[in-house]
Symmetry: C2
Subunit: 254 residues, 2 copies
């Protein structure tokens, strides 16, 4: 009895390390500054490099650090607020939506996407590849699946599989009446091709935004957009009848 529960809770070393480094980042480092290398840091804290890395990994996950192989570890700028709301319901590519078409092929969509499309099994779909940039940095990579039932192959002609064909599919899609859409956000890890576009290593944590576009009582298109989780904060500038003036500075990365 009376064995009070003090002194227990042997906090893991990497967790404590994370706290220490995090506080050091706040007080002693400026954005963009480079940290000592991992071997030095590990020695300085008297831990194995693997343990030190565990702490750095979490800090990178939280967007506090940026690590680049062959270069070093730097203090990351605050995450960018990226607007993913859909002000006036619009098809992808309508108005100026910050996405840059890269290419377009016609393939059998993966199972997970086919489930979302109201498509017969084995129906092919236009697959538009787009990239979202901000200040030259890639924020997100998107695959937009448009079943042939929504935009017949003949409508886009035989334009080769480049940006031109992508734009052609998008503009055909816009001819349909858009009846609604819904959206989901979840955590994922970057596939090899997305990682390449996003300038990250495969497996990097990403926020996957899946959007379904409805037209004619069907799912006319599905977009799977992969945002860099380290640099992006997805914002939904929802409603709000009046423009609010807040001095809360939503800092954008420079």
């Amino acid at each position: 009895m009376g064995t009070t529960q003090l002194e227990t809770v042997p906090e893991p070393k990497y967790w404590h390390l994370k706290t220490v480094i995090s506080e050091a980042l706040d007080s002693d480092f400026a954005v963009g500054e480079i940290l000592p290398n991992e071997r030095d840091l590990a020695a300085r804290f008297g831990v194995a490099r693997a343990t030190l890395r565990q702490a750095l990994e979490q800090l990178e996950l939280e967007g506090r650090l940026q690590r680049r192989r062959g270069v070093g570890t730097t203090v990351a700028p605050p995450r960018m607020g990226v607007d993913v709301s859909t002000p006036r319901q619009g098809w992808p590519g309508a108005g100026q939506d910050a996405w840059q078409p890269i290419g377009c092929t016609t393939v059998l969509p993966p199972h997970s996407v086919a489930r979302l499309l109201d498509a017969e099994d084995g129906e092919e779909a236009h697959t538009v590849r787009r990239l979202r940039l901000s200040q030259g940095q890639p924020l997100a990579a998107e695959l937009l699946y448009v079943p042939l039932a929504s935009v017949p192959a003949r409508a886009v002609g035989d334009t080769p599989s480049g940006p031109a064909r992508a734009r052609s599919v998008l503009s055909e899609l816009r001819r349909l009446p858009l009846e609604g859409q819904d959206r989901a956000v979840e955590l994922g890890s970057a596939r090899a091709d997305d990682a390449k576009e996003l300038d990250r290593l495969p497996g990097a944590p990403v926020l996957v935004v899946t959007t379904r576009y409805f037209s004619g009582g069907r799912t006319a298109a599905v977009s799977v957009a992969t945002y860099r989780a380290d640099t992006c904060r997805l914002t939904f500038g929802d409603f709000g009848n009046l423009e609010i003036s807040h001095h809360g500075q939503q800092r954008q990365a420079s």
Copy 2:
């Protein structure tokens, strides 16, 4: 010359492992089934346990696996779709919003929150703790900050810091005219207290949903909700003028 770039791309072992295991999960395992333990698996694949763990970690990040210390590794059910849209703009706690009040204290909000609240530095705020459950499982933990400027201390009286006080603050908050809100989603790692509520280890990946509530041209409240990233897919059942009938089965976890 002629050194064609075949045979290159030495895919990391853990990445290949992940693919192999992922395919095995699809074909040979049912949801809830337990996998062999890590030492056996590592031996079976002829890799060190650390390498095997790297693959399992990614699969857990993607919501494919669930690992529990002392128990084992099981095949996770598909992620739950959790609605985080705000159909008719409403204050937290209005109608039935699936959140269960736990307690309420009055503290100085952390810096990151104070920046969002249009509050003088050093102004205290009611801090309401709420939990969101689904089928008995915790999905999310929330901290709702309500500055004293929005709900004066005298309005809630001296109810002790339990659920009753939480409900009192919420109902006072609902008396204010809600003029708008905005919302952001980003990746984070669970703080110790959130981890406990969510039945996860500290540092577990979470989706952090930050909501600002505007009233009287000010930010009247800020909510920071921490969703389990492994089990949750956040859905925004945005607009959509008609109810769509899709046979795409949005499987819910049982």
